[in-house]
Structure formats: C-alpha cells, structure tokens
C-alpha cells in the first residue's frame, strides 16, 4: 500500500523590527539547527521557507551548508518574496517587483529558484494569481483555515482558479513551536478524517513556524524534534517536498478561495473581511496609501533602473508585519509606525529632489482612494496633506529634514465605519471647534457635547494659490453656529500655506459674521502631534521660562500666550508656534489605543480664544508653525 505523505515546511519569520546584528545572530542559530537536524536525518525531505533578504544576512558558511543540503534533494526552497509583502495592500506593480527581486536574490544565493511560495499570514488574493505565476511560482502554501470548513479534512492539494488563471495550493496545518509534536502524533487520525475512499495518495502539510523576533529554545528544538519524528515514522509516512507531490499526484479539484487572511499565523479561522477591520484603524490605511502613491510615482517615471534602492526600501515597508495589528509589531506601535513613515518620507523626498522643483508643489489627488480629493502641498522641507471634505484637517505633516510625520498619532478607538480618517475621532491637526465662550480646559473633554459649530467634520470649499512667495490653500465654509437656541450663519476661512522652501507653515483663521446678531463663542483649534520622546521623558513644551516635561500624564493650560514650543529630543524635532494675538493653549495627553499596550506618545494641543463677534464683523487669527531640527537621540530601530 502506498504510504501517505507529510510535507514539513520549516518557516522562520520576523514580524518585528530588529537590528541587523540581532537578526543575523538568530538566523544563524536557526540555520545551524536546520543543517544539523538535516544531517542527522538524511532520509527526511522537507521544505524551507524564507524571504529572500534573510539569505543576504545569513552567514555564508551556513548558507553553503544549506545549499549542499538542497543539492542532496533533501530540502526544497520556498519563498515569500524579497520580504513578506502584503498582497492585499500592494499595487500589482510593486508586488510583482518584490517577487521578481526576491527570485533574483534566491537564484544568486542558493543557486536555485524557488518553485513555491508560502504566503505570509495566508494572505490570499485571487487576482494575484497572474502575478504569482508571472514570477515563476508554481504553487502556494496557505493555511487550511482559508478553505470552507467541510473541505478542511481533505488531504491533498487544490487548484485555485480566478478569471481563467489558476495555481496549485497546499492547505497547511500552521503550528508554532511545541504544538508541532501533538500534530505529528495525530497524523493517522488526520489522514483517516479524509472522506475520500480512493487509494490516491494523500498529503498533510505541516507549516512549522519559527518567530525570529521572539526566539525561544523551544522553537528551535521543535524543528529538530519534528525532523527526528518524521525520521522515526519513515515506514508509515513519506516525508516529501511539495513539488515532488505536485508532480506525482493529481489535484483534488478546483477551489475558489475568496480573499482572506489569518490574523494570527497559526489561527484556526481566517477573516475574509480583514480589509474592513484594517481600515477601521487610523494609520494603517495612510501608510498603505502613501506606499501606493510613491509606487505610482516611481512607475510613472521612464528610467526605473535609477530607483532600485528606493524600490528596495518600499519592499520593506510593504511587509505585511507593518500592517497587522499586534502587541509586538505593526502600526499600533509608535516605533513601528514612525519607522514606516521615515522610510516612505525618505523615498518621497528623494523623488521630489530628483524633480528639481522650486517654490513648492500642489497636488489635488485622490490620495486616500475614497473618491474625494486630498490637497497635498509640499516644498523641500515639509509636506501637508489636507482633507478638505472632512473639516479641512491635516492628517499628515511630513518634516522631511527628519523624515518625521508629526501627525501619526493613533485614535484610541477603532472607527465605527471602515474609513481611513474619521473626524473628529482621528488624531489629526488643525481641527476647528466652536464651544460656548465660558468653556474651560475641562469642557474640551466633553466634546462633542459642547460643540456649537459644524466645522469639525464639515465640507470646506477650497482654492489653491501659487505665487513667488509660496503656496497656499484657502479653505472656506459657510457654516452654522448655535447661539442660544438659534442656529446662526458663520463663515470660516482657513488659509494654510508654505513659505517657499522653508519649514514654516503659515495659518490664518477668519471668522466672519454676516448677520446683524452679535456672536460669542470660544474658537479652538485642535492638533495632535506624535512625540515618541514622551515615554522616555525627552519631550517637553516650553513657553518663555516655563517648561513642562510630563506631557504624557498631565493636562494643563497656558493663558494668553503668543509663542510656545514643543520639543522632542528622541526624534530630533522642534515645533514652534507663534501667533499674532494672545491665545490660551490647553495641552492634553492623548489616550493610548485600546488594542495596544504601547503608550500613546502623543500630545493634543488646543489653541483657543474667546471670540466676541459683532454683527457684520470679522475676527482674525494669524500665526506660524515652524519645524526645526534638534539633535537626534533615538536608537536605530531596524538597520535593514
């Protein structure tokens, strides 16, 4: 009787940012374990998955030993791409380039091209079949959780088909560390669960995960134990490489797999609506949109060979681990998020410099891909992203000299609807509130109950201006203000500008009362800035001689000031505000995101003033926000 097959897939991965030296050490330990185990059990054939950049870091001697093992036909190489790209969040061009580059690196360093791919987090997109096939991939390994429940007990491989394109895939049992042993012990039961009565060969794929970001002796020992266990079961089961089984057995049929993702790599269930979940967070969508915008920018250029280094940086930002909310990695962590923005702003800055633009650039594009335009104003030092349909707020302020996005704070709660920026909950800048004139610092926390205007998430009209002095966006809304129990008309004009190539944002607010009724209100402008130094006590706010360092814990107010400064020595950024009229400033620690253990590391600044507006009169506030470099003190998070 023909023996059933077991395909062991040894799968190291790195989900968190790691310094290169640390990663190299852990990779070498892993490779040594695999080489030793393979040497001890030479009759066991198995599969080895790696992103191609691991091979660049691996010790050449260990790589040579792995190559020797491969030459003995003991292992089969599978890959995930150059990095572990998030298929559902990537443009087809960038995904294809990632795979292409990954194949080149694999071919150069291992001497073979991988014939299969293990998709990270089993992230499956039917529309990506052509890209996978185009890269030379013949089959994929996915978690069985992606299959409909009644097909999960079948032991074989399927053909995934979509719009005339098809690719083979192996459903795998994803296990991590010590949980591999019970699975291997229960192989007989698992094979018996297959309802097919035909004598056709069956296979069980065991995707043995090994997290290099959180290494444990157990996880390395489990690799050795799994290979040894298969060695002892040689008479009952045949350890196989995936392509061997593919070439010697028929598939079980066609299987349509909808887009899916398994949020924890070894989870039992997939989430087909994962995109809705991800778009209910603030920053994941913005990072993705920025990545897509830059990728489109590079694609539109003719000589793309000049941009290889930039593309390589994009491959790392494209990594799925940057977009999956988790306790140890992903955009919920400020360090992870800021790292992504740092890389993306760096690439965008290089592209801008290549264009040799003087005096600023205005773009009116569908940056958020939600059908409405975003105003993007940029010069050599600053980029501003204005959502004029959503309260005229700035959802991104890039300080290019430090590759720092000052507006990358997280909303403490997920959005009710899957939208990338949700006003007023998203922590953005230049959000305009109208409150009763007697409101104090405590009343601000009662918003939106204390709101008497409709500018927070209102639709603004806009005009753009480009002169020799710089670029400006003029946002205007004819809104309403509640006075007593009446709704009264109030016109708000907000001008945001950049002065030539300086890191200086000018703002002008003008409230106009076109009625004859006098108005009284407190006008407040809310801005939230991410200051990663808050946790380490390296952030502070300064007004004259007064300095407050405990920004993460206390709320406080500054009365009738015209200048104040936010310093963050960790990221090396200073934000200096200067207004022409004295205003009150309230400062609040931004609450941390509920789903993260990471402290918020952001501060909300509310610039406010009591406004008594006579009939047919206007009130104006002008000011500047200047970004400057400080000496940087942060550690290198990820050297890759």
């Amino acid at each position: 009787m023909k023996r059933n097959a077991v395909a062991l897939i040894v799968h190291p991965y790195k989900d968190a940012l790691l310094p290169r030296a640390v990663l190299a050490q852990r990779l070498n330990d892993f490779a040594k374990t695999v080489v030793d185990a393979a040497g001890a059990s030479q009759n066991v054939r198995f599969n080895l998955v790696m992103p191609a950049f691991f091979l660049e870091i691996l010790d050449p001697l260990l790589l040579l030993q792995l190559r020797e093992t491969s030459k003995r036909d003991q292992i089969e190489w599978l890959f995930t791409g150059y990095t572990e790209p998030f298929i559902s969040f990537s443009t087809p061009w960038l995904l294809a380039e990632n795979y292409k580059y990954g194949m080149e690196i694999f071919s150069d360093l291992t001497g073979v091209t991988p014939s299969g791919a293990a998709l990270p987090y089993s992230n499956w997109e039917p529309s990506a079949i052509d890209i996978l096939r185009g890269a030379g991939i013949n089959y994929c390994v996915l978690s069985k959780a992606l299959l409909p429940p009644h097909y999960r007990s079948y032991r074989g491989y399927w053909i995934a088909e979509h719009m005339g394109s098809s690719i083979a895939f192996f459903p795998a049992h994803a296990v991590s560390g010590p949980s591999a042993a019970p699975l291997l012990d229960s192989l007989e039961v698992l094979f018996a669960a297959d309802p097919r009565k035909s004598p056709a060969g069956k296979i069980i794929c065991v995707d043995l995960l090994c997290n290099l970001a959180q290494p444990s002796i157990d996880s390395l020992q489990s690799i050795t134990a799994a290979i040894r266990a298969l060695d002892t079961m040689l008479l009952s089961y045949q350890p196989m490489r995936c392509s061997e089984f593919l070439s010697s057995h028929f598939n079980m049929g066609l299987q349509f797999l909808p887009p899916g993702l398994v949020f924890t790599r070894d989870a039992g269930e997939a989430d087909p609506l994962f995109l809705n979940r991800l778009h209910a967070y603030d920053q994941a969508g913005i990072i993705q949109r920025k990545l897509m915008d830059i990728a489109e920018n590079i694609t539109a250029r003719k000589e793309t060979k000049q941009f290889e280094a930039l593309k390589k940086t994009l491959y790392f930002v494209q990594d799925i681990n940057r977009f999956i909310p988790s306790r140890s990695s992903g955009f919920l962590l400020a360090a992870d998020r800021l790292w992504c923005f740092e890389k993306l702003i760096g690439v965008a800055r290089t592209l801008y410099e290549k264009d040799d633009i003087k005096g600023g650039h205005i773009r009116i594009v569908d940056f958020l891909k939600n059908g409405t335009k975003t105003l993007i104003m940029e010069n050599n030092t600053v980029s501003l992203f204005i959502d004029y349909k959503n309260g005229g707020q700035l959802f991104e302020i890039d300080f290019k000299s430090r590759n720092f996005n000052a507006c990358s704070a997280l909303n403490p709660c997920r959005h009710g609807l899957p939208m990338i920026v949700e006003c007023p909950h998203s922590k953005t800048a230049f959000v305009d509130h109208c409150m009763p004139i007697y409101s104090g610092i405590g009343d601000f926390l009662k918003l939106p109950d204390m709101e008497i205007g409709d500018f927070v998430s209102g639709d603004f009209g806009y005009k753009v201006k480009k002169t020799g002095a710089g670029i400006k966006a003029v946002l205007q809304r004819n809104g309403m203000l509640v006075q007593g129990d009446k709704s009264c008309p109030l016109n708000l004009e907000k001008v945001l500008g950049l002065e030539k190539d300086a890191a200086e944002i000018t703002f002008v607010y003008q409230l106009s009362n076109h009625s004859l009724t006098p108005y009284a209100l407190r006008f407040a402008v809310e801005s939230t800035f991410v200051l990663p130094g808050i946790g380490a006590g390296m952030a502070r706010i300064t007004h004259g001689e007064n300095t407050v360092s405990d920004l993460g814990a206390t709320q406080f107010g500054l009365n009738q000031v015209t200048e104040w400064t936010l310093d963050d020595a960790y990221s090396g950024v200073r934000i200096r505000f200067k207004v022409q009229k004295p205003v009150d400033v309230w400062c609040f620690p931004t609450p941390a995101a509920q789903e993260s253990e990471d402290p918020s590391q952001a501060v909300t600044i509310v610039m406010n003033s009591a406004v008594a507006l006579e009939g047919s009169k206007a009130w104006t506030l002008m000011g500047t926000m200047v970004l400057k470099k400080l000496r940087i003190k942060k550690d290198v998070v990820d050297a890759i």
Binding site: K358, G360, H361, I362, R363, I364, V464, T467, I471
Partner: protein, 214 residues
C-alpha cells in the same frame, strides 16, 4: 464623484506654471477647474502650460472653457500652452486646433530659454547618438574648444593690426607724394616766365637726356 474625478498637479517650471491634469475630465468639473486656473492667473501667473496627456476622456464643454481662459490670459499679456497627443484630447480640441498652442510633448516645448533649448538639444543628441559626456569631460572639451577659438581670434586680431598699420603707412606716403607733386608744379609755374624770357634754360629738357620725358 464625477465632479472630483480629475487629479491636478501644479508646479513651477522655469518662468511658467505647469498644470498636469490626469483622469477623466467631465463637464461637471469645468466650472471648478476654470475657477482654479482663473485664480492662478489672478495670482500673477502669466505663462501657463497645461499638460493633458493623461486625461482619458474629455467633455464637450472643456475645450471652450480653455478657449475663454486663453482669451483671459492673452488679455493680460500672458500665454497658455497645451501638451498632449492622445486621441481623446486631440479630438476634443480639433475644432479650435489653430487657436491653441499645442505641443506633442515636453521635448517640443522648450521652456527654459537658451539653456532650456540647450538642455533639450543635449537630450535629443544624446538619445540619437547614444553618446553621453560626463561633466568633467565636457568641461575639458569646452575649454579646449574655447582656447582654440581664442587663439584664432588673437591671430586674426594681430593680422588686422598689421594691415591697419600698413594702410596707414601707405596713406601717408600717398599724401607725401601728392604734396611733393603739388610743390613741384608750383615751382614750375614760378620759373615758367623766366624760361619764356629765355633767362633760364629748360633744366628739365637738359635733364631730359637723363630722363626721357613722356
């Protein structure tokens, strides 16, 4: 939204302001775009370049809108140029083809004065010949050529000076000769009565043995 389908990019290029439009250009967007471009003209921008190459479809009100903008900017001593060669835009602009300044691409549209033309020429020649010169090599070649031209000009200048000097000498000799002839004629006139009286012999005739008179 149909009224927001068009992407706009505004950037300065040399002395001109360049607007790059991409996406579908519906009639619903005409008012908004006209207002935006009108605002830019009001800000003092007198030279506009509108790149429509990436516009995928064009409403029938678009070309007349640009016509009115061209009229507006010409009234302010400015100009508006268009860059496109795609079918959709070409078809929409066909009735007004001769009223607009249309260029097929950036190469045809030199916007940088002498250096701009030089730059475009450089690119064109580089593409045609496949020869690319690095800056130091180009500088050495430029200096060599310039030195050669300067030497040539110096030699021409020296020769010119010599010719002028010879001209001056010739002129002075000619004048001296004319003066001497005149004086000789005067002397002859003065001694003629004495010759006629026979007091003096005609020395010229005596000397005629030596010099044959004509």
């Amino acid at each position: 939204m149909r009224s927001e389908a068009l992407d706009i990019s505004i950037v300065s290029r040399g002395y001109a302001l360049r607007l790059i439009l991409s996406g579908p250009f519906h009639n619903e967007q005409v008012g908004g775009i006209k207002e935006k471009i009108g605002g830019l003209i009001d800000d003092g921008n007198r030279h506009l370049i509108v790149d429509l190459e990436n516009v995928v479809s064009v409403g029938d009100a678009v070309a007349p809108m640009f016509l009115s903008l061209a009229n507006l900017i010409k009234g302010k001593n400015g100009d508006i140029k268009f860059v496109f060669r795609n079918e959709a835009v070409t078809k929409a602009f066909a009735p007004f083809r001769n009223l607009f300044s249309v260029y097929p691409d950036d190469l045809a549209l030199s916007t940088g004065g002498f250096f701009g033309v030089l730059k475009l020429r450089r690119k064109l020649l580089s593409r045609k010949t496949g020869v690319r010169l690095s800056r130091p090599v180009a500088l050495v070649l430029l200096l060599t050529l310039a030195g050669w031209f300067i030497s040539l000009a110096f030699i021409i200048h020296l020769q010119n000076l010599r010719i002028r000097q010879q001209e001056r000498e010739m002129s002075s000799l000619t004048q001296w000769k004319q003066k001497a002839d005149t004086e000789l004629q005067n002397l002859r006139e003065r001694i003629r009565p004495l010759q006629q009286l026979g007091i003096l012999k005609d020395t010229v005739e005596i000397r005629g043995h030596e010099y044959s008179r004509p």
